[in-house]
């Protein structure tokens, strides 16, 4: 285990986040842990509301406060616990060492600033010694890097298409050569044809700069193309975690199986997709036992009574289920 | 409404009004506003009957008396009990406010809906007229109209309502415009639903919330404006104990008997505060973005 810790570039340990809404408490993230090596890509997969975005925001420490409260856990980047840093120190990390790409490019850009200035802003924040002219040139370089002509530096977001805006957001995220990129459903809001372009761009740039990435998505197809490791999130917990191969070849958790079953499969001529029955649990009132048990076709009394722990069923392949994995 | 029978039959019908009300009073300030408003209305309705004095009962030996046990708010220049006059005058002030808000909003909704829904030349003409209408500040227009119509209760309502129309029209039109492109209207049109029916049956219920909030706020504003008018001498006239008229009545004695104008003014402030708090809560409750 100690050997593993040494090579971990990002190590997330037992983080827990709640949202307070009036008297209600929403358990958004409940003890999530994972490790990443440098240059690796981790896919966080799950339904809307499972807590994926909250995990990313917690790493960057930009949870909306109030109502979000970081209850506990450690987030170590290169051995430094980000949670212990002062806000001042954290400012230097945001946008520089860790950058984020947001879900909706339509709203992620400030409508009243030129796209160039928005890229310039992040460059200025983290390159205090360089002159403005130099940085403006670099912002232009960044635009060209994401295939936007430098001449459009002075234009406003409303003059760009959705795909172009997302490329601007990517340029902004990559401007300071981050070591870790948090991509929060970077293609969900885009047209299918544009999705592929943007994903290719992210992959290409990531490989070029050896950036580690956490890719948040609910699209297993995207994960298959892009990621090295996969963590399936359900109700704020990791229910299955492992490298891409073991998740895709040895799908174990009933929820993950459900996710795969709900994908359209062209090779089999199915008339209907198989959705997972039921709704995600109310995060203010999680079930006592396994969070997935109300929707799980295999659930037993044991599942409803005891909360299962994450178990390693094969080297590097973890599953949180009372039943599965035992029989194998 | 909340019994089990209706719950099965039409749970949605019950929720619309009651739910809004429940959500409204959830915020402590809106609750305070609601309670205050109810108390004021109650006091104004039954208060005058409980008082030992009549509204026009003179007591020339006891004029401009400071507040005491016998006259909690003191007496005015003619020795009339101020408390009972305030309670009685509240009927005028409140009904002025409510009637004006209703009248102004109704006109605003109709004209605004027509402008927003029919669009084109109709809209352009209406909106240009509204531009001109609102180029004369509401308060001024109100002064002018009440000057030209003459004083009195009905005329004051008219004068007060006129100034609020352009705002109401703009609000309603903006709402309709926001809603106009939505699919459910196309759906209604595709089954050949008549335009007026679409407007009133499908469109209006979906856009009425801001107008309700606006009307509530207007009540408060109108009470102030009515008082201002009366104070200047263009609204309701003394001896009618409308709050503004009472202020006008007492302004001559302001330096030596400030209590004569202190209490009516305080009542205006309190009433308007209650209505504003309520309106604020209503706005939050009706805001679809805040609904969860």
């Amino acid at each position: 285990m100690s050997e593993k810790q040494n090579e971990a570039f990002l190590s997330v340990k037992d983080i827990e986040v709640i949202y307070t809404s009036g008297k209600k408490i929403v358990h958004a993230v409940n003890g999530v842990s994972f490790d990443m090596k440098r240059g690796e890509t981790l896919g966080l997969v799950g339904e809307t509301g499972a807590g994926k975005t909250t995990i990313a925001r917690a790493i960057l420490r930009i949870l909306p406060d109030p109502p979000a409260i970081f209850k506990g856990g450690r987030i170590e980047l290169d051995g430094v616990n980000l949670i212990d840093l002062t806000e001042e120190e954290m400012l230097k990390i945001r946008g520089d060492k860790i950058a984020m790409i947001f879900q909706d490019p339509m709203t992620a850009l400030n409508p009243l600033m030129t796209v160039g200035d928005q890229i310039l802003e992040v460059l200025q924040l983290h390159n205090k010694s360089e002159s403005k002219e130099e940085l403006i040139k670099r912002a232009g370089d960044m635009l060209e890097l994401v295939n936007i002509p430098r001449e459009r530096y002075g234009e406003y977001p409303h003059q760009f298409s959705g795909g172009m805006k997302q490329r601007v957001v990517i340029a902004m995220a990559l401007a300071c050569d981050p070591q870790l990129l948090l991509a929060d459903e970077p293609t969900t809001a885009l047209d299918v044809t544009i999705q592929a372009q943007v994903l290719d761009l992210i992959r290409e740039l990531r490989e070029k700069y050896q950036t580690s990435m956490i890719l948040i998505t609910h699209d297993l197809g995207v994960v298959a193309e892009t990621c090295d490791k996969v963590a399936v999130i359900y109700a704020g917990e990791i229910v299955e975690y492992g490298d891409k191969r073991s998740i895709y070849k040895h799908t174990t958790h009933p929820y993950t199986i459900g996710l795969f079953d709900s994908l359209p499969d062209i090779s089999v001529q199915a008339n209907r997709l198989k959705p997972i029955s039921g709704m995600p649990p109310d995060p203010t009132d999680l079930p006592e036992g396994c969070a997935f048990s109300p929707r799980c076709p295999y659930a037993t009394e044991e599942c409803r009574a005891a909360h299962p722990q994450l178990r390693e069923i094969a080297p590097g392949h973890f599953v949180r289920c009372c039943l599965r994995g035992k029989e194998e | 409404m909340a019994n089990s029978g209706s719950e099965k039959k039409a749970p949605k019908k019950k929720s619309m009004f009651l739910e809004t009300l429940q959500r409204t009073v959830k915020s402590p300030s809106a609750k305070l506003g609601a309670i205050l408003f109810c108390l004021i209305v109650l006091a104004v309705i039954i208060g005058p009957y409980l008082s030992p004095y009549k509204i026009d009962q003179f007591d020339l030996l006891n004029t401009k008396a400071k507040p005491s046990a016998a006259h909690p708010f003191g007496t005015d220049a003619l020795g009339r009990d101020i408390l009972v006059r305030i309670l009685y005058g509240g009927r005028y002030s409140l009904s002025l406010g409510i009637l004006t808000a209703l009248l102004g909003s109704a006109v605003g909704v109709v004209i605004g809906s027509v402008a927003g829904y029919f669009g084109g030349t109709t809209e352009t003409i209406i909106m240009r007229i509204m531009d001109i209408w609102s180029s004369i500040p509401g308060m001024l227009l109100c002064l002018l109209i009440s000057a030209s119509l003459g004083t009195g209760f009905g005329n004051t309502i008219l004068a007060l309502a006129v100034g609020g129309v352009p705002g109401g029209v703009r609000l309603q039109r903006a709402q309709i415009l926001r809603e106009r492109g939505k699919e459910y209207l196309e759906a209604a049109e595709s089954i050949n639903c008549p335009k007026t029916k679409i407007m009133f049956k499908h469109l209006l219920p979906n856009v009425i919330s801001p107008t309700i909030v606006n009307a509530t706020m207007t009540i408060g504003m109108t009470i102030t404006m009515a008082a201002t008018l009366s104070y200047i001498g263009l609204g309701v006239q003394p001896p009618t104990p409308e709050w503004g008229a009472m202020l006008a009545d007492g302004k001559a004695d302001i330096l030596y008997s400030p209590h004569i104008i202190a209490f009516p003014g305080l009542c205006i402030a309190l009433t308007v505060l209650a209505i504003n708090l309520l309106g604020d809560g209503l706005r939050d409750a009706l805001d679809p973005r805040l609904r969860s």
Partner: protein, 319 residues
């Protein structure tokens, strides 16, 4: 953009003409005979007839209207006051400084204090500072301004003897009028600023700015405030109008010889040239304020600017 400005200025002129028409017509059809009113109850029918002729009231509506419009817009002559025989234009000129001083300072206070208070409340959302600020704002919105003015006279002039109760003799005579005419506007503006700040507070681009490592203070100033400014500008336009209109009452409470008080005496005396002149003056002020609001929109928001320069047929945005 230049074409748009030109169009808007043209519209101000059209609105002014229309407003002049409206006020003339309202007064024309007001019941009662101003000539009789002017001469008093003892005047004979002949005297009244004579007076009507002198004032031009015996002419048909269209002729009177035509004369009025011609004099107002082509000769910039608003006529003489019927009661005092002084040219209205000259009197307006004399009174303008008082009204503009009070209105202008109130507006400046409104912008500065209102914005700061609103930002303060928004950045402390849900905490006690926010609640206190908003409760105070709500109280000041609810208090009738003229009554507040009267109460302040009782307190500061009568009881404490700090300030003169009325008049324009000293510079500190203006303190109370300015406070009274600005305070409600400040409260409204603070509330508006707070709510539009909160609206942009949770916007994605604010998160983007934070994710860049930008300091919270700079995020507020550089990203939130400009985006929150549109509704604030609208509300400032309204505030300006209500300061102008409410000025009449404040001037009457503090006996300040401004345009508002002039109009009120005009109304009481049925001195139509005075009333018409004042209304046209106020309408001009309002129109200019609206014009500035529209131009400010274009200045703040590149999207609106693009709209304006793209299509000359750009419609005015409804408030």
């Amino acid at each position: 953009m230049g074409r748009y400005v030109l169009r808007r200025i043209l519209m101000v002129i059209v609105i002014m003409i229309a407003a002049a028409f409206v006020i003339f017509t309202i007064l024309y059809f007001t019941p009662g005979d101003p000539a009789k009113n002017l001469l008093g109850a003892s005047a004979t029918a002949e005297e009244v007839e004579n007076m009507r002729h002198v004032l031009g009231l015996d002419q048909p509506y269209l002729v009177q209207l035509g004369n009025f419009m011609y004099n107002t817009f082509l000769r910039f002559d608003l006529g003489n006051s019927w009661t005092y025989s002084v040219p209205v234009m000259q009197e307006l000129g004399n009174r303008l400084p008082y009204t503009v001083t009070i209105g202008g300072i109130s507006m400046i206070l409104n912008v500065i204090i209102g914005l700061l208070l609103g930002i303060f409340a928004a950045t402390h959302e849900g905490k006690w500072q926010d609640s206190v600020a908003m409760i105070i704002a709500m109280v000041f919105i609810s208090v009738p301004d003229f009554w507040l003015g009267l109460m302040m006279i009782v307190l500061f002039a009568q009881k404490l003897k700090w300030l003169p109760p009325y008049g324009v003799q000293y510079w500190y005579s203006f303190i109370m009028p300015i406070i009274v005419s600005s305070i409600a506007g400040i409260a409204v503006n603070a509330r508006q600023t707070r709510s539009s700040m909160l609206e942009v507070f949770r916007s994605d681009y604010i998160t983007t700015a934070r994710a860049k490592g930008q300091k919270e203070k700079v995020v507020v100033r550089k990203h939130m405030l400009p985006n929150a400014l549109m509704p604030i500008i609208t509300s400032l336009g309204t505030a300006f109008t209500s300061i102008v209109a409410g000025g009449a009452v404040v001037e009457s409470v503090y006996s300040i010889p401004g345009v508002g008080l002039y109009m009120l005496t005009g109304i009481t005396n049925r001195d139509y040239p005075v009333v018409r002149g004042c209304v046209i003056f106020f309408a001009l002020f309002t129109s200019i304020a609206m014009l500035l609001v529209d131009l400010a929109y274009a200045f703040v928001d590149p999207r609106i600017k693009a709209q304006y320069s793209a299509s000359a047929a750009g419609k005015r945005k409804g408030a």
